[in-house]
């Protein structure tokens, strides 16, 4: 085997598809079902995020790849755009700087004034200041996107095995039944569960809650809406935080987020849900009359600097990490796969892999 990909979430599926289509022999090992972890739990927002130079390069590259791929996919892919909502003049004051930053990296971004805000999204609460529109951001349904990627990997000859992994060694994977598989490379795409195999990885489980409504009779919003305070929630302290993040699904449902907390219990926590929904209602009051039919949690794989770990593990020959994507794994899965391919075959990705190398965060062991 040339490559064993551990994990059939969206990152593992994207890597398997990329490597198998490059002509390598690829095996996928998944402990439960495809798209069962953070992939199933996530929103499926394909966005460009501007919180660092490395992040904007990775997300912009990956979004372009999604636009190239998605038209031929059954993924409910829709270019809804993102509307970042500024609640007050202070938040509005930072918008032009953010727009310039996006444009510097070739990403279309527009400042939205107060009047235009309500023309674009009449359901927003009165009294908000304006915002920024990123027109080419999109929304997809992550489980079917994963299935599409896996199907393509299988058509290129990839194989699939359902098993837990006991350990990963030099060019070797040991399954729980004691069987070993030899391989030139291992791609570890196990999300937050990567720490089960390597407890020293700089990854913490960051729990999130999401709620979904039934299908509304008519669309309430058109864009994915996020409060501009979202980045503070994403990078804030260790305390639990919530931020307004609302997504229109192609089914007519609304997906309501978001929460962040370093917590490993899977339970839905009603006090957090209550805060999250109150925040959502404060931005879109009509949500108060919507019926929520499901609430669930998931675990993001968070790194200390908010960037993923993509590249060789310097302690174990042949091991390539592809994890630590926190809330951006669905967005950045395709770019991750290109970077992983560069590490394995030398085929250059369109961005510099250096900022994402695991070595930046932990020394070789």
């Amino acid at each position: 085997m040339d490559v064993l990909v551990i994990g059939a979430g969206i990152v593992g599926a994207a890597c398997a598809q990329e490597l198998a289509s490059a002509g390598l022999s690829v095996g996928i090992v998944e402990k439960s079902e495809p798209a069962f972890g953070a992939t199933a739990a996530g929103m499926g927002h394909i966005l460009v995020l501007d919180d660092s130079e490395a992040q904007i390069r990775l997300t912009a590259y990956s979004r372009d790849l999604w636009h190239g791929l998605a038209p031929s996919y059954r993924t409910e892919f829709r270019t809804t755009g993102t509307l970042w909502v500024a609640a007050n003049e202070q938040e509005m004051g930072a918008i032009e700087g953010r727009r310039d930053f996006y444009r510097k990296y070739g990403v279309d971004a527009e400042v939205v004034g107060q009047d235009q805000l309500y023309q674009l999204e009449p359901a927003l609460a009165p009294g908000l200041a304006g915002g920024m529109r990123i027109p080419s951001d999109a929304v997809l349904y992550p489980p079917t996107a994963t299935t599409e990627l896996l199907d393509r990997a299988f058509r290129s000859g990839a194989t699939y095995l359902r098993s837990e992994i006991k350990s990963i060694g030099a060019h070797l994977v040991e399954l729980v039944n004691g069987e070993t598989m030899e391989t030139t490379h291992v791609v570890l795409a196990a999300g937050a569960d990567a720490t089960k195999l390597f407890p020293s990885l700089p990854i913490r489980k960051r729990k999130g809650h999401l709620a979904i409504t039934d299908r509304l009779p008519r669309p309430l919003i058109r864009h994915q809406l996020i409060e501009t305070g979202y980045l503070q929630s994403a990078h804030g302290s260790d305390d639990a935080s919530v931020a307004f993040n609302l997504q229109p699904r192609s089914t007519g449902q609304l997906l309501i987020g978001s929460s962040r907390q370093f917590e490993s219990s899977r339970e839905v926590e009603l006090p957090i849900v209550e805060r999250m929904l109150a925040q959502a209602v404060s931005y879109v009051p009509a949500l108060r009359d919507c019926l929520i039919t499901r609430i669930w949690t998931g675990f993001r794989a968070a790194t200390p600097d908010g960037l993923p770990l993509i590249g060789p593990h310097s302690g174990i020959p042949g091991l390539i990490l592809a994890t630590g994507h926190e809330g951006l794994g669905i967005s950045t899965s395709l770019a991750t796969a290109k970077l992983v391919r560069q590490h394995i075959t030398g085929t250059k990705a369109e961005i510099d892999p250096a900022p994402y190398l695991p070595d930046r965060l932990f020394p070789a062991t």
Binding site: D214, R215, T251, G252, L291, T293
Partner: protein, 79 residues
């Protein structure tokens, strides 16, 4: 005898009886359809699964958590 309307047709009821049970006993085993068109019906009977959603007097409710009352207007196939 007290009556409600189910999809426009009159139906005799006992005041306060479970709407889900009434629907199941009166030829409405499927209360709605999923996005893909698959049949859906109340599974849990205790307000958790949300599969028995119906529209009562213009509002989407869970049939299993709703008692029948004189004059109620019920439409199945809520979204």
């Amino acid at each position: 005898m007290k009556q409600i309307l189910i999809n426009g047709k009159p139906q005799e009821i006992e005041e306060g009886a479970s709407l889900l049970v009434l629907l199941l006993n009166n030829g409405q085993p499927t209360q709605r359809h999923s996005v893909s068109g698959a049949n859906r019906c109340g599974i849990c009977g205790m307000g958790i699964c949300f599969e028995c959603r119906v529209t009562v007097d213009g509002k989407v409710v869970r049939a299993c958590q709703t008692g029948c009352h004189e004059g109620m207007e019920v439409w199945t196939d809520a979204r």
